[in-house]
Chain length 184, copies 2
């Protein structure tokens, strides 16, 4: 079986080009010959960074999210909006810009597709340790109003368990750090 | 500070209504008075189920994902497309429909927003144990061609580490089960 599982793309039409996302209608032929269309969202991809301090606390940001209509608590992140920039460089830049931190060690933690049901967004997640302070340099109106919160890892875990923290990249990064710290 | 962090919604215009997602342009006023717009995607939400067998293996599905253009390995999941249906009921139904399993125990594992940067999709994830077989009842062309794979939990973890499994809900559910099994 090939990577497409016998499905063949037969065309794609752009429905709307936004500032970040592009909506398209893609058509396919299934292995049984059936033709079908799906609306899909193209996204440039993103990076996220879990800044874990030596005292086992995490620097997080509280940011207004237009799609949700309220603020949420999440780890620093940003779009891959610079052509050809390696994810680890984007991650390092976002860490400085959003929360004023530089990492002595920045290690890949995970790569994930947020919502393969309708979007091609891919997120590269990094674990940042050996942290020290640098200047902030915030971009965009949501970032200007962002607040920084430094929270013990165990409190973050408790808030995830109570569904007070629901951001996928945050839940995922924290769970992975927890799972791995226990195996090492 | 209110839940909106001082941001005020000032209007929303539907740009495109699809079969599953709706694209809209929403406008807001920031705390400093600045007006801005964001393209956002409305999504009905979804459920996902991690079926964990007594022998510590997981039943997964390999399914063609139009947005990615290829098949991926993921845990069973489905849209919340029945009005008012509690997520745990949808989860139970998807588990039967997609992989022919019923769970003696179906416990909430996590609730997460996949991509708060542009979409309001919320996923309820459940852990299914005490599993037994029931009849399949697949919906839609991708599900018709779906294949089932039962894989040891430790192999799933290794594939996540090698970025061979990249589906957010799957990575997240597996990491949470791993993290929790080590604390108990």
């Amino acid at each position: 079986m090939d990577a497409r599982g016998g499905f063949e793309p037969t065309g794609e039409e752009t429905l709307f080009e936004g500032r970040v996302i592009t909506l398209a209608r893609a058509s396919f032929r299934a292995p049984n010959g059936e033709s079908f269309v799906r609306e899909i969202v193209h996204h440039p991809g993103a990076v996220a960074v879990l800044p874990l301090h030596d005292d086992q606390s995490i620097t997080m940001v509280r940011q207004f999210r237009a799609a949700l209509g309220h603020t949420i608590l999440e780890i620093p992140a940003g779009l891959r909006d610079v052509d050809g920039e390696p994810p680890i460089i984007t991650a390092s830049r976002e860490l400085a810009e959003e929360v004023g931190l530089a990492a002595g060690k920045l290690a890949p933690l995970c790569v994930f597709h947020n919502s393969p049901g309708f979007a091609d967004e891919l997120v590269h997640v990094f674990l940042a340790t050996d942290l020290h302070s640098v200047d902030l340099d915030r971009q965009g109106v949501e970032e200007q109003h962002m607040t920084i919160e430094r929270i013990p890892l165990e409190s973050v875990v408790a808030r995830i368990d109570r569904a007070e923290i629901t951001d996928a990249k945050t839940v995922l990064a924290v769970a992975l750090v927890q799972a791995r710290s226990r195996t090492s």
